[in-house]
């Protein structure tokens, strides 16, 4: 998997116990590290607090999109039925909003849901297939049953030794370097 071109780009501490991870995360948070993250096979409750992550903006985005959908629905139904081409239908008013309510609702939900999907992709930074976790062989473990704290040290601010020391302090037994395979071929194709 790795060859001589592999480059160390960070440090990884692996845990078997979720409690240990949460404690370690709190320690790292308090130590004031920047480029670090926890990787877990499933969402661990309370970890965001331990990591000091800000609340997600996703709800606001979704609500806004839903409201946009609602406005689109109102404009679509009313505009097309009453203004663009006023056709008399069944003796109902041209702007028979009562009959448009289902559409208002559905477009609200549709827009909101599209925003939710987009939020998942955007905020979770999906669509980035490359990761040093693959190269380091850690990905398999953290999608199955192990928990990891990953430090990225590409900017060189933090020394690997300091990180290792801190991880050991948190009781981590399995500390590995984060390796990245250098691309041999830099062409797009």
């Amino acid at each position: 998997m790795l060859d001589a071109n592999a480059k160390t780009v960070g440090m990884v501490g692996l845990y078997d116990n979720v409690d240990a991870l949460v404690q370690a995360a709190a320690t790292v948070r308090d130590a004031g590290h920047k480029n670090w993250d926890c990787h877990t096979p499933y969402p661990v409750h309370g970890l965001e607090k331990a990591m000091g992550i800000k609340p997600s903006p996703v709800p606001t985005v979704i609500l806004t999109a839903g409201l946009v959908g609602l406005i689109v629905a109102i404009a679509l139904t009313g505009g097309l039925s009453a203004i663009h081409y006023p056709i008399r239908i069944g003796g109902k008013a041209l702007l028979s909003w009562q009959a448009f309510v289902p559409i208002y609702f559905e477009l609200f939900v549709l827009f909101a849901a599209l925003a939710a999907m987009a939020s998942v992709i955007f905020f979770c930074k999906l669509g980035r297939w490359h990761s040093p976790l693959h190269d380091s062989g850690i990905m398999k473990e953290i999608t199955c049953d192990r928990f990891a704290i990953v430090f990225e040290t590409r900017d060189g601010d933090e020394s690997h030794e300091d990180i290792r020391a801190m991880l050991e302090e948190t009781g981590c037994r399995d500390i590995r370097p984060l390796l990245e395979q250098e691309d041999e071929d830099n062409s797009i194709i």
């Binding site: 056709i87 008399r88 239908i89 069944g90 003796g91 109902k92 008013a93 028979s96 009562q98 009959a99």
Partner: protein, 999 residues
């Protein structure tokens, strides 16, 4: 005639131009199904058999098309503009006046001539359907000799040679022949004395004509005047269905029942008693109805005569013996007593002569002749030859047999004509299609259609009308009279009797011109002739005195009244739509429901529920009916109101040749049963044998449920009720005040189209249904699809029946799109394919429709029709059929919903015309097809915003109501409740009532 601004006649030049119309023209924009090129259509118009593959019919875009500059454009015929011709309908038993609408050289619609004194603008289904027969692809296309096409010259020379050699020539024609046709037959017989002329018909009134001739001493017919009668008694006479001048009967009958709200307290309408053997259309309109066996008719008349003279013992005996409703008969006698001179009695054409003699005496005793009965010494039909006489002649072997427009191989009474034909030398069949007779003959000659023929008719003394062609024969066809003329001329060796006319057109014209001049017409012959063509002929009948009755002869005839014995009796009636089978290849008429049974595409043995119980037969069980050794298998149809012990069936089905439609319809030929019991009374049989065969053949009805289930749909009241309270309908129903969620649209500006239908006038004849079909390009779907519940009629006549067998109440209710203001169909269409016009029309835009059928589901009247399959496409076997389409109406393709549009094409046309000329659109200018056809004038269409319009007045009538008003859909078809003049409890019909029961 002023409305028919385009009425033209045909000169030779016109005929030439019409033929040029067959060349590519600059006809634009008429809707033809996809895949069918205009060129192909025009080729068909020229008679070429263009075998073009038919693609998907529908209203989709077509590829780039051509437009043609003619060499010389005809002066009067403009693309897309209608021309109207007056003519005469000669296919039925009574010749009615026609106005034929032709667009781009194609006749596309037939209407009644409003100036014609008999039908006064009305038309029947068969008249309407004539258009379809014109473009029938099954028509014979060229003379045939032994299955090979031959030229007319070859056929003529062979026929003429054969006649010259012959010692015995038999000419068989139908009975309704015009004066010119009769003249050419006479001439033919003068030239060839060896010719014997026989008249063959299965639906004739020979027993009646014979009786009249004997007792009045002169040939002629009695004309009932229903509008003048207070009491009408019909003994098995289907006066509103098939007996006599039906269109006139319906009109005068409904005139005698008109109501005026202003004088409702003194309202007087006629009362119709029917004493009949099976439920006929007339019986379904009766106020009082008695179920009677044909064999009891004579006895009842005698009893009535005695009772009218004061001795009612015989009547009571009769009622007791046969279980007849005594009260109704007592009422009848009372009514006849009280209305001397204002009643009339008619008897069915199939009843024995003795009954007619008896009825004539009863009428005489009631003082009706001259009042409610008129006399016509020149009936439109010739007396029918006794089949026995024909059989005797043919049995000896004739050298030449000529069958002109008759089909004896199919409908010979007793059914053995093929053998007789086999004994003859040369046999010639002359007909529209290759039918049973022409395919059995050695030579078969194609006849031209009425709309391609010159002819005339004299249905009443002095009423002479002309029939003119409106299109050149589509195929290599020639009319029968012209054939006779050609043969006569050849046989005479050029010695012409009537002028020098070599062609039939000239023959008719010359006769007319001579007659017009002889009658002292001030104008010259040519102008008088052109006038006659424009107006339809000489349209003022002379009045004729009623002949006096020879009582001695009549009494002697009555004494011969045959007695009926046996459990079962049989009545054979003409089929209500295809008559004796002459219209059997017409899909519109096959698919038009029988107005009483609602059966389509079939004939049945109608029996009463009690008879069915006795026979152990369920609907559809096939029974074998045996009369005089001949047996016929028919499926049972159980009809409430039929007389117990009577089996009724109809002629016209069971065709084996004659076109795809009549063969598809199948059914059973009842002709073998004719005349087997008593040759003098061919259509009635007593002592018949009935046996269940164990087979099953389901009669297909378009209406499967008959009861109204107590719902207020077709409303009626008694005359008493009406006199007491003209608004009895409104007061009978308690509707909550309607609440609208939305502010209703304002329809007060411009037009607001609406229709009113008077259920009191409508008799259910269904002419409107076919008129609608012809006007709106409505397809037929066939028996199987009708059974599946997919018939396409935009307009239907709902027939409800409730009550006991002896007191059956039948309602006929024309049902069509109600054009609701709050149309429930509109709000459910997802694509706006159905919407509302500012003039109140519920519009259906076919080209937008995607076919969800939700609109139909949500229509409480179920008047929407869906193209489940390619109905037009499946039936279009030949491009010639496309010529029948109305170019003003889109031809709908598969998967599209359609429904009544209130004939929006007529509305738009008239409206634009008025707008262009800056005129006011007058009430009556726009007539929907159904309104125009209706003989009872039960349908009125117009602008509800015009307070003086007929429809606005009817909408305001006290009798008016809306069907399903409680749904608040706000229909724009208003129904006027029917008022029945029932005898029970309403004894003051006699006219001595001073004006009702004012509280």
């Amino acid at each position: 005639m002023s409305e028919h601004h385009g009425t033209h006649h045909h000169s030779h030049e016109a005929m030439r131009l019409l033929k040029e119309a067959a060349l590519p023209t600059h006809i634009e924009n008429f809707a033809v199904p996809n895949g069918m090129t205009r060129r192909g259509m025009l080729k068909a118009l020229m008679g070429a058999s263009a075998a073009l593959a038919l693609g998907v019919p529908g209203c989709e875009r077509k590829p780039k098309r051509k437009i043609v500059s003619r060499v010389v454009g005809p002066e009067y015929q403009k693309p897309g503009k209608a021309i109207y011709y007056s003519s005469t309908w000669t296919e039925g038993t009574c010749p009615y006046g026609l106005i034929i609408k032709a667009v781009d050289g194609r006749p596309i619609k037939i209407e009644g001539n409003p100036e014609h004194p008999i039908n006064k603008g009305a038309s029947s289904s068969a008249m309407q359907a004539s258009i379809l027969s014109l473009y029938d692809p099954d028509r014979l296309r060229a003379p045939q000799r032994g299955g090979e096409s031959v030229s007319w010259e070859a056929a003529d020379s062979e026929i003429v040679a054969a006649i010259q050699r012959a010692t015995s020539v038999v000419l068989i024609t139908r009975s309704s022949l015009g004066p010119s046709e009769r003249a050419i037959i006479d001439e033919f017989r003068r030239v060839c004395p060896q010719v014997r002329h026989f008249v063959h018909e299965t639906i004739h009134d020979t027993p009646r004509r014979t009786a009249w001739k004997k007792i009045y001493g002169t040939d002629g017919e009695v004309l009932p005047r229903f509008d003048k009668a207070r009491i009408i008694v019909s003994l098995d006479a289907d006066i509103l269905g098939t007996d006599g001048a039906v269109l006139e009967n319906i009109r005068t009958f409904s005139e005698g029942r008109r109501l005026d709200d202003a004088t409702h307290k003194q309202a007087q309408i006629s009362r119709l008693y029917t004493l009949e053997s099976t439920m006929t259309l007339t019986g379904s309109n009766a106020d009082c109805r008695v179920r009677l066996r044909p064999s009891q008719m004579g006895g009842v008349v005698t009893a009535l005569r005695l009772a009218a003279a004061g001795d009612d013992h015989a009547m009571h005996d009769m009622a007791a013996k046969h279980g007849l409703p005594r009260d109704t008969l007592v009422e009848l006698v009372k009514d006849l007593h009280a209305n001397r001179g204002e009643s009339l009695v008619v008897a069915g054409p199939h009843l024995p002569a003795s009954v007619h003699a008896n009825v004539a005496m009863l009428n005489d005793e009631l003082g009706t002749p001259g009042h409610t009965l008129g006399w016509n010494p020149t009936p439109a039909t010739l007396p029918v030859t006794d089949p026995g006489e024909v059989e005797a002649v043919l049995g000896q072997g004739a050298d030449v047999v000529i069958c002109l427009g008759v089909n004896p191989v199919y409908d010979w009474p007793g059914g053995n004509f093929t053998d007789l034909l086999g004994k003859s030398g040369l046999s010639i069949g002359h007909g529209l299609c290759s039918d049973e007779t022409s395919s059995a003959c050695s030579i078969s000659l194609p006849s031209s259609h009425t709309l391609e023929s010159w002819n005339d008719a004299e249905p009443r003394t002095g009423l002479r009308t002309l029939c003119q062609p409106v299109i050149a024969p589509l195929f290599d066809a020639r009319q029968e009279a012209e054939s006779l003329l050609v043969w006569t001329r050849s046989l005479a060796g050029g010695k012409a009797e009537t002028g020098e006319q070599e062609d039939w057109h000239g023959y008719v014209r010359q006769r007319w011109q001579a007659q017009l001049v002889a009658e002292g017409n001030s104008r010259n012959a040519v102008l008088a002739w052109e006038d006659a063509l424009r107006t339809g002929g000489r349209i003022r009948p002379n009045s004729v005195a009623f002949p006096s009755l020879d009582r001695r002869v009549a009494e002697a005839m009555v004494a011969t009244t045959p007695s009926g014995d046996g459990d079962y009796e049989l009545v054979i009636l003409p089929h209500p739509t295809i008559l004796d089978g002459r219209f059997a290849n017409n899909g519109w008429l096959q698919e038009l429901p029988d107005p009483v049974t609602k059966v389509v595409w079939d004939n049945v043995a109608t029996i009463s529920p009690e008879t069915a119980r006795k026979l152990g037969a369920a609907e559809g069980d096939v029974i074998a009916i045996t009369v005089g050794g001949n047996s016929v298998d028919l499926p049972v149809l159980i009809q409430a109101g039929a007389t117990d012990g009577v089996v009724a069936t109809t002629l016209g089905h069971g065709r084996t040749r004659g076109g795809t439609v009549c063969v598809e319809a199948a059914g059973t030929n009842a002709a073998p049963l004719l005349g087997r019991s008593d040759p003098a009374v061919p259509r009635v049989a007593v002592g018949i044998g009935i046996r269940k065969t164990g087979d099953h053949r389901k009669p297909v009805r378009t209406q499967k449920e008959s009861s109204m289930h107590g719902r207020p749909i077709a409303l009626d009241g008694t005359l008493d009720e009406y006199r007491h309270d003209a608004a009895f309908v409104k007061h009978r129903r308690h509707l909550p005040a309607p609440a609208d969620l939305y502010e209703p649209y304002d329809y007060s500006k411009g037009h607001k189209w609406a229709m009113a239908i008077d259920l009191g006038a409508c008799v259910g004849c269904s002419a409107c249904v076919t008129a609608c079909q012809a006007e709106n390009n409505i397809p037929i779907v066939g028996k199987e699809q009708c059974d599946a519940g997919r018939e396409m009629h935009w307009m239907r006549i709902d027939r409800y029946q409730d009550g006991t067998p002896d007191d059956l109440k039948i309602h006929h209710q024309p049902m069509l799109c109600q054009h609701c203001d709050n149309a429930p169909c509109e709000s459910v269409c997802p694509v706006n394919a159905t919407s509302h016009s500012p003039e109140g029309l519920n519009e259906m835009t076919y080209n937008r429709c995607v076919g969800t059928r939700y609109c139909s589901n949500n229509c409480p009247y179920k008047v929407r029709r869906f193209n489940f399959l390619r109905y037009h496409g499946a039936r279009l076997r030949d491009p010639v059929q496309e010529l029948a389409f109305n170019p003003q109406v889109t031809v709908r393709g598969i998967g599209v919903m359609e429904k009544c549009t209130f004939c929006v094409q007529r509305i738009n046309d008239a409206k634009y015309k008025a707008l262009n000329r800056e005129e006011i659109l007058r009430d009556g200018t726009i007539q929907t097809a159904c309104e125009q056809a209706c003989p009872a004038q039960a349908i009125v269409f117009g602008d509800a915003n015009d307070p003086d319009s007929r429809v606005a007045r009817l909408r305001a009538s006290q009798r008016s109501y809306h069907v399903l008003e409680e749904l608040n859909v706000k229909p724009n078809v208003t129904y006027l409740a029917r008022v029945r003049n029932r005898a029970s409890g309403d004894h003051d019909v006699g006219g001595h009532d001073d004006g009702g029961h004012e509280a």
